[in-house]
Every structure is written in C-alpha cells, then in structure tokens.
Symmetry: C2
DNA sequence: TCTTGACCCTGTAGTGGCTACAGGGTGCAT
DNA sequence: ATGCACCCTGTAGCCACTACAGGGTCAAGA
C-alpha cells in the first residue's frame, strides 16, 4: 500500500501553521525530522501530521513548548499511568488562574483610571496623575 | 540650594527596579541619559526618579513600552487635551478584555479535560485524547 | 526549450522586555 | 594596601516565533 506524503506547505495548510514555524519546531526537537525527497524537500507522513496537530492544539491551549514536549513524551508511553499528564495539566490550570487574577486586578484599576478622566488638559489628567509617583 | 543626586543603585532601590533594567530603559529611550560623575557614574536627579516611577507603574499596569513612551510624550505637553491619553488607556483596556476572554475560554476547556481524566493508562487518557487530532 | 512562478532550502537576525554574565573600573573603610 | 560593594560597557540568552536574504526545485504554459 502506498503511503501519503505531504510537503511542508501541505502540512502548514492542514494545521494552520506557518512553514517557518514547522521548521522551527523541527529545530527545537518537538517535531521529528522527516525523510527528504531527491530534491531535498521534507516529505511528511501521517504520523507527522498527527504530531503537529497535537502540538498546535496544546500550544493554542497555552501550554509552553516545554510542557508540550513533556506531554508528547508521555503520550508515547501508552502503557503507563497518566498521572503525570494530569499533573502537567493541573499546573497549567493554576498558571492560568494566576494570570486571570492579575488581569482582573489590572482591569479594575485601569477602568477606574479611565472613568475618572474628564478630558481637560493633561495638567489635570487623572490618568497621568494615577501613573505619576504618589499620585 | 543643593540638588539631591542618586546613583543608579539608589534609583533601583527607590523604585523596585533592577539596575540592568534602568540601563535598558535608557538605551531604549524611555529614560533620558543622566549626567555623569567624575568617575563616570550616572548621577540622577528628582526628575529621573519621577519618570522612572511613572514608567514602572505604567508597565505594572500592563502598558507596553511603546504605550509608555506615548504616555510620557503626552505627559510632557501639559497644556494639551488629554484625549489621546484616554484613547491609549481605552485601547489597553480593550486588549486586557481580549486577553481575559481568551484565558477564560482556555480555562474552561482545560478544566473540562482535567475533570474527565480518571488516571488510567495513557492509552485511555482523556487529556491526551483531547489534544490529539479529531479527539 | 525556455521561462515563469510557486514552492522549497539554509541560515541569520529581529521582536519585547528584560536578565545574566564577563571583564573591567571606582570609591570608601579598615 | 586591601577588601568589598558598587559602578561601567558590551554581549548573549530567554520564549515562541517571524521575517528576511540568497539561493535551489519543479511543474505548467508559450
């Protein structure tokens, strides 16, 4: 049976990734280097497509490249317990919660600043005042 | 009347900034280069302290260096309307709202993934499954 | 056959916002 | 005189890409 082969551009289109990013993932060790054609073009197979989809999906969910590498490593050991996967995911959730808290606090302060601005000259501007030392 | 003079370390302590960061702000054009002592040390005055405090506060509130530069420019033109200041701040608020939306969506998806993991082997792991192409 | 144009290759440098050295000089107290 | 804390410049590193420059490959059309 013939196996399908994709060029780097095909993979890019299929996964919504830029060509340069795919090469970058290869250089970073996330995506294994595929075989080459006679003309030195990368020739990808189904396993590369799957792996790249995994990477993109995990990155979209905000996992760092290091976390993605860990998850990929784990995903390959199919017979082991998935406890570590759970730990990585929970750690990431905690990070997201921290960011959410920070952003909400930020938003509140910024919104208060904007609400108190009544468009006079900058000398009276509450926003500038709020940023100045001991405003 | 004598004017107070601070070393870069004094400024760093007073504003909670690292020394390297202050030099970085100078190189980036956010903080003007101060005069030097005979020994080539930077000699800061009150205006530098004020400006650095402003920068730090704005950065803490999540304004980009470019936005901070704009705000500093505007803050210097005391007689103009503060409309542009308001526009910058509102633009930043909109950015924060976008980030909040994205993070909340992320959190939801991630939490659902984690909730469905019941610690079997990786072959059955819902988290890995959720990341794999067409789940 | 020749050319056009889309695609591919490598390698390097840039982004933002710092941080961390290396390899030196200065200033003050002991 | 010596130690130590501080200062100086310049460069490289971090993350996760992105954007070139300067070439090579390949298929279709004239």
């Amino acid at each position: 049976m013939e196996t399908e082969v994709w060029s780097i551009g095909d993979l890019a289109r299929a996964t919504g990734t830029k060509v340069e990013t795919i090469r970058f993932y290869e250089k970073s060790g996330l995506l294994p280097a595929p075989p080459r054609t006679a003309g030195n073009y990368r020739a990808y197979g189904a396993e590369h497509l799957g792996r790249l989809s995994f990477i993109r999906r995990a990155r979209d969910l905000g996992f760092s490249m290091e976390q993605v590498a860990t998850l990929l490593d784990l995903a390959d050991r199919k017979d082991q317990s998935c406890e570590v996967v759970d730990i990585v995911a929970r750690g990431h959730l905690a990070e997201i919660d921290r960011k959410l808290r920070d952003l909400r606090a930020l938003r509140k302060e910024l919104a208060a600043m904007i609400a108190s601005c009544d468009h006079r000259t900058i000398a009276d501007c509450r926003i500038i005042e709020a940023l100045a030392p001991r405003g």
